[in-house]
Symmetry: C2
Subunit: 460 residues, 2 copies
């Protein structure tokens, strides 16, 4: 009997060690009693006893007629279940899906991008006709590992124009701006690392960082950039690995980083091992370029990313990463392993469109229209008691505060029922302290029905 | 003195707990002595003493004039450093980069894809001209979360044709076939999980799985599919979460899964909690469709993925995932978080090309040419002593064995110097037991210089 007891404990220990090493994962079916008995050269009754003791301990579970399982459910990565349950209306993923799904006739002042009629459609059509006549390899072959050289050369020149020295070998094309940040996170972060973001910040940063299972720390954003005292304190308290921000025009506030804040921020970053991702996606909306962290830093600890989805086309996926050489090497490996070749055709179309003389004129007119719409939107919102936090120098967004006691999520829910999609403040706020803010996209707020619906919902 | 000693130990404990919780990560600079003293309300000399003791213990390091750091380097994810160092010639990443980088005039029998002149170039040109005339939203707006509906409807019908029932709501478009597998891995796997692959298998599976930091177990592949006894034994021994395979035509062997193997494999999968990814990327090369795991299984535990890069264009990035409904829901969230909208234009171009009547004729001619090239390549290889493992029923690849005592990596290195890019067997082999094999792409092996170079290198 004693020897049989030893054998039972041996089988139990073996199973527990396989669970500990994740050879058997939660929810997995473990080998049948018979198979295990054969594999471990013990009797069927020994294994059965071991399994039953492990069931009594809650380590295993069984389903009638279907065998033994490691206790605990099979758990695929459910983004919606990581972190606290959110009201759907302020759930970043829900807002993204809503914006992407909503039918064309809905009014979308909460949407993050320009209406199709504001995009560089004529340039895209022309580029498509040009590309249709190019040689077979452009049309059918994979891109080179770094991506289509002429577009990288163009980006290198454009970056030089705002003071960022980045030779084409230090620029890698990606499938989008989001893809660029995702690759950088995969490259630099481990689950459990800490990442600093602006509070408020672009809401998809929250969804993206959730997928990386990192801790997120928010730093309050001021009209001239992040609050520098809070930034320094957060560096000390949390030693974050990465800080992700929009320079140029900030999403959602429309604020612009000042040179003195940029300088102080980089001095602080130098005291720790902080890497900064500067998302430069709104640069073509600026009237005069704001300071760039990547220009001050010289692409040492700052990585700049961008895309063309906000001005040329969101339908053509193309983004870029400009970073120090040895990081680009590692990022290329990671890109090939996870998406293989990049989109050569997309890069070629973007290159045609962006180097076309019409693009410059198109963006001049977009900037003028945006400035007009900014004035109109802010005036109309003020008329119904919704106040802008600042008057942005440029860009699409006005970050606005509701009258005292009004809740943006409640308002968003009411307006959605009337076909108006809003972007409530807490979707952008790590600390959930923007419950009385909304982000308005002025290019999507031209229809007066928006204000009728808002006014009615505010009155209710 | 005693109280000071207590304070020193408190500071030391605090720092070690921050390192343990990854608040301070390896290589990170920790707060200055002065800052820490202020934060912990102790004297500067207490902190200095604590830091110096931790340095003596090897927990911290210092750089003159630059402060204190957590010992250990900053470690971004270096794919080339995960796992054993490989000879570059059999390093999957190196082969991918080599194929993507090599100039047009190199001969590439080791390349994984068709030459540009074999692709559906005419169809792509026609599609581009059509798309250039479509409405603005197609040209400039994000795709819907699942992706361009007409292409999903087409895929649903095509899948029905090979016995896979997948309504369009169970199909999500991705940026590529590799992107599809990457999303599934992110969704289902944790670092440390075990994944089963065929030995040999498509080499980029190795690079991709490295990026996910999972354990990889290889199962020997036979001319009718994986070795079923080894498959069952591996299930028992390793309880893998996922099995990734090509059904239809297998890469690199050109073998075809038999119905009996498919059936046995799925029966074994049912005894554990195994999920199967079936990479169906070569389906349009088949003369008659081989059995599909997804058809036998009904998309319960099998996920099918595919793309259009092998027949229409690799320059236009588009792939798909067909899976059970609740998994598609989670995958959509993950896709939005990590790449935001999909490529609507790319999906539109692919849809035009693949539904064009010319595509069917084009593929008929490609299949005929491949069959001819298969015969020629095999005959030419046999003439210099290189033997095919099997004669594949269809597809691009011939998996061939070198004469006794010859090493494929050595041969690949010699041939590369003469402008011929080969694909040595061990790049495909988890167990590194294919050192005397090479994969030949028959569509890239038409030039007789290939055999001259091979013969010379074999003789040396």
């Amino acid at each position: 009997m004693k020897r049989s007891g030893t054998r039972i404990r041996t089988v139990m220990a073996e199973i527990q060690s396989r669970i500990a090493s994740r050879t058997y994962t939660p929810g997995a079916r473990i080998p049948s009693v018979r198979a295990m008995a054969q594999a471990m050269q013990v009797s069927v009754s020994t294994v059965l006893e071991a399994y039953e003791r492990l069931m009594a301990e809650g380590v295993l579970s069984s389903r009638p007629g279907s065998g033994f399982y490691v206790a605990g459910p099979v758990a695929p990565l459910a983004l919606t279940e990581l972190g606290p349950k959110l009201d759907r209306v302020v759930d970043p993923l829900w807002i993204s899906r809503q914006s992407l799904e909503t039918s064309l006739d809905a009014l979308k002042p909460g949407c993050g991008w320009l209406p199709p009629s504001w995009m560089y459609e004529a340039g895209v059509r022309k580029a498509l006709r040009m590309v249709a006549r190019s040689d077979a390899s452009k049309l059918t072959e994979y891109a080179s590992p770094l991506g289509y050289p002429p577009l990288r050369q163009f980006l290198s020149r454009r970056l030089a124009g705002i003071g960022v020295e980045a030779p084409p070998e230090q620029i890698m094309l990606t499938e989008s701006g989001t893809h660029a940040i995702d690759l950088i996170c995969r490259f630099l972060l481990e689950p459990g690392d800490t990442v600093m973001v602006d509070d408020p910040c672009y809401f998809n940063f929250h969804a993206l960082l959730k997928a990386h299972r990192v801790n997120v720390v928010g730093v309050p954003y001021t009209p001239t950039g992040p609050d520098i005292d809070a930034f320094g304190a957060a560096l000390l308290a949390h030693a974050p690995r990465l800080y992700i921000t929009n320079s140029g025009i900030h999403n959602p506030t429309g604020a612009t980083l000042s040179p003195v804040t940029a300088h102080r921020l980089l001095k602080l970053a130098d005291t720790s091992n902080l890497v900064i991702v500067e998302d430069d996606i709104f640069s073509d909306f600026e009237h005069t370029p704001a300071p760039r962290l990547s220009a001050f830093d010289g692409l040492s600890r700052v990585i700049q990313i961008g895309s063309f989805s906000k001005t040329i086309s969101a339908s053509i996926r193309c983004g870029y990463i400009a970073a120090r050489g040895e990081w680009i090497e590692g990022l290329v490996d990671l890109k090939i392993a996870t998406t293989f070749g990049g989109g050569r055709l997309a890069a070629d179309i973007i290159h045609h469109a962006i180097t076309d003389s019409g693009y410059r004129k198109h963006m001049e007119s977009v900037r003028l229209r945006l400035a007009e719409q900014m004035d109109k939107t802010v005036a109309r919102l003020q008329a119904i008691g919704i106040k802008p936090w600042i008057i942005p120098q440029a860009g699409l967004y006005a970050w606005c505060q509701l009258p005292l006691g009004k809740d943006a999520a409640t308002l968003a829910r009411a307006c959605l029922n009337e076909g108006v999609v809003l972007a409530p403040g807490n979707a952008f706020s790590q600390s959930m302290t923007a419950g009385d803010f909304l982000r308005f996209n002025v290019a999507q707020s031209g229809d007066v029905r928006v204000y009728d619906v808002l006014k009615r919902a505010l009155g209710a």
